[in-house]
């Protein structure tokens, strides 16, 4: 069970949240102007990185805000969260993380 840092409410249990997918996916500004391939990639193609990943989460049992969360999908380490529209800090260097001697 993850502990997730909502930028509005603070750290809460995972069961208050819903996962919303890759936060880096950009919706084409004018869908009519893009090719079938570009639209297909936007709708269906997702990267599956090993390591740090910026995701969308929805605090559905809390403030009902969508926000960005950087998470290491291998270790489940939380690497920061931010409201939509603001930038996330890059992950801390290894030495500064909890649990690493």
């Amino acid at each position: 069970m993850l502990l997730i840092d909502c930028p509005w409410c603070g750290t809460r249990d995972q069961r208050e949240f819903t996962y919303g997918g890759d936060a880096a996916v950009k919706r084409p500004a004018d869908p009519a102007a893009v090719s079938d391939k570009e639209w297909h990639d936007y709708v269906y193609i997702r990267v599956n990185p090993r390591g740090s990943h910026v995701e969308l989460w929805h605090h559905n049992a809390g403030c009902r805000r969508w926000f960005k969360l950087r998470r290491d999908v291998v270790t489940h380490e939380m690497q920061g969260s931010a409201p939509i529209g603001s930038e996330l800090e890059p992950p801390l260097p290894i030495a500064g993380r909890p649990g690493k001697p």
């Binding site: 069970m1 993850l2 502990l3 819903t18 919303g20 919706r27 084409p28 869908p31 009519a32 893009v34 079938d36 639209w39 297909h40 936007y42 709708v43 269906y44 969308l56 929805h58 559905n60 009902r64 805000r65 969508w66 270790t75 489940h76 939380m78 939509i84 529209g85 909890p98 649990g99 690493k100 001697p101």
Partner: protein
Amino acid sequence: MSQLFRMAPGGAWAGLIDRSREIRFSFDGRTLRGHPGDTLASALLANGVRLVGRSFKYHRPRGIVGVGAEEPNALIQLRRGERTEPNVRATQIELHDGLEAESQNRWPSLGFDLGAVNSALSGLFPAGFYYKTFMWPASWWMFYETFIRRVAGMGKTATAADPDHYEHMHVHCDVLVVGGGPAGLMAARAAGRWGARVIVCDEGAALGGSVLGERLFIDGKPAPDWVRETEAELAAMPEVRLLARTTAFGYYDQNMVTLVERVADHVLMPGHHQPRQRLWLVRARRVVLATGAIERPIVFADNDRPGVMLASAARAYANRYAVIPGKRVVLFTCNDGAYATALDLADAGVDVAGIVDTRPDPTGPLPARARAAGLAIHAGHAVALAHGGKALSGVEIMALDGDRLTGSSRPLHCDVLAVSGGWNPAVHLFSQAQGKLRFDDILGSFVPDRAAQAVHVAGSAAGHFALGQCLAEGARAGADAARLAGFGDGTPPATPATSEDAPAPHRTLWAIPPIEPGKGKRFVDVQNDVTAEDVALAAREGYRSVEHLKRYTTLGMGTDQGKTSNITGLAILSGIVGEPIPKVGTTTFRAPYTPVTFGTLVGPEVGEHLDPIRHSAMHPWHVKAGAQFVNAGLWKRAQLYRRPGETEQQAIDREVLNTREKVGIVDVSTLGKIDIQGPDAVEFLNRVYTNAWSKLEIGRGRYGIMLREDGMVFDDGTTTRLGPNHFLMTTTTANAVRVMAWLEYWLQVQWPDLKVYVASVTEQWAAAALAGPLARLVLADAVEGLDVSNEALPFMGYATAHIAGIPVRVFRISFSGELGFEVNVAADHGMTVWEALMKAGEKHGIMPYGTEALGVLRIEKGHFVVGPEADGRTTADDLGLSGLVSKTKDFIGKRSLTRPALLAPDRLQLVGLMPLDKKDEIVRGCQLVADGPGSGRGARPPVPMEGVVTSNCYSATLGCWIALALVKAGRKRHGETLHAQSPLTGRSVPVKIVPNVFIDPEGARLRV
């Protein structure tokens, strides 16, 4: 006979039992006696019970091996009736009055077990036996399974509902200390003295861990006394919580550790309002793992005879429980561990027949003490074979030349063989927490290496077994953990002095070869009956990865999860494949550390507490009216209102016909309702719905469909304009939550520039829908201040009014296809307004209808619903609704609609179905196949699939079964005959494709 193996009272080490009180318990129907402080295992040994179970595969007689969680053999069926629990370790059952225990896996009795024939036939049961034997013919599997289930397997689960209850506890703490042994107690003391919130848990009945079974001194006093004093000191700290009888069994992300507290397993029955067990979900800033170590056996021929046990267990039975495990003991060891056992047992009056030490020249203080005590040491020797059947009668020992046996064998008579093959740190939780392990060549075991979470490992769990080191490391870990959690400066408390002798180096040795090939069975995993030969066979057959080995041989897959066998098994594999142990690696450690009952995991969320239940404001009325309810998500919805003497179908038919002919009323409070406000609300609706909203007048509603980005229908409903910038959207009951989150996503993530606010008001409004030709008369009689004529309130119109003096919203919308009005009222007044409508409808013949009739009405009218028809693969055009899809504006999912697959001519399209023979029932889920040769009754495959039946009902209006279906290019095939083939019933019904709207296709009834 009573407790003949109980040591006499008196002396410095007389055990930690209360001899002043006697406990009566039963084992396999025999009444026996023990004392408070005993476990079932120690009490059985005290009574001379050696044979406690039969093995899983061969039904070999088995005895007690360990003293704690590691016990592989002594699995017990505990209690009877609905409280019975299988596979409980006798070593962890606290003895209590009235305890009833049964041995497992034997028939007809433990002493005479017919299944033991498997042992004689053991040549037929090699590794991978199940895979090899039961592959074919497949149709025999049912027979095999029945047979296997009867002769193999463990205890029996209760067949009645569990009468006890279970609790969940969610807590946060600064430092969680797992393990209440010397290291854990020092860690708790170090962290607690700085005021950190500390939780200490230990699986034992009392804190203290392994030192309770040792003759050691801490701070100049016997270790158990030091434990009690330290415990009292900790108990006095306000922020420290001590949890005995509590096993930490899972370690999850972000330092969440799950504990199971056995609140009432040590008494006959839980007290009033007392849970049997409690699940703790602990979020800890820091975790200290002081989980100790598990002694491992050495593999040799027939090492499973009752009486072969771990050296640490033999010692603990004497020191803690005042039980001698036998009259005459032989020790078999490759380290100093067994010497303490020999000395302690000798002091307890046991005849020590010899210490068989694989080390050629055991030196150091402990062997010296053994020699001084006159104990015979057979250095450079090994036990090669055990004798005996239901009890050990002796062993054969032989000299060792390297790893090989040499010379001739010599018998040693004994009834107990205490074995020590070294120690495996209990790294289970560390590894569950994604920590990396390292193989320590000197210890011959895996030890914690790199942590992945905020965790400290101290003492034996870290591979540091000496008592002084355990105390010092515990203190250090506790102080560090407290400091990192924000308490104190990291200074550890002073380490108390200890009495322990420094151990001499051990010799890593896993298995003794057989005296001659095939002589005796060399068990690696006694619980699952896996031998060294099975491991070798698996390797020969290509199962050379440790994960394959495990699954092929079932090594370590029992309820003990291989606590005494995994490392030995992989070490043997490593020797066979010629790879070093670290390269062979371990299997994955997974939760739970020891088995946890489902009751505990589920906790209080059973029965009516499984989920929250949502009731509409009119629920009590439906109950009174005799409604039958159906779950719609968390809602309870009235399904039908059966009258005395009616069948379900008769009730549904009556409700449908009454609505079509007179007037019905249905509770539609469960529909999702979303209040939308803001200057950009129209633009927002234009983007989320496929149709256009700009021209919608205030006081009018419109039906809309939402798509996902892939172009598939997501949800539908009506939205009404309440004011210039104010709309009320309705959603389906099932999707209410999803649509809300969806709108929030688009507003917050994609279009933050739109000035729109959305709020869920589903709970705030109760809703009742009137439907039927007489609906207007009912509403007219009930409502105040509203002209309900078609001119004043046309189809899709909206107005506010009063009913019974209460403000209501009236929407002229219809799902049934009849003249319809939906009345919304603040939920608190839902009942009043419903009753007013019922009263007004009385003289018009109003009847309530439930979801069944609602379903019939909508199928007759050809409406799709989300789920059966809009199943995530259907577009608006598939549903015949392309008229609702705007060509001129953009909306979510529009770009996908022009992708080639969505324009394919053979897409499944919504149609209606009528049976050719009016008596036939069309079953939902039927495959639709074409008429002609190769289909229908007696068809030979392949039979091309033309579609699927999505919804069906008996239409009282039409007097026959009808259905909705998705059929390839269905709209062009009206009039064609297909066969509805049900794979479940094997029946095939000829059906005709018809338009999906069965009743009033022009919609005239809606507009009167």
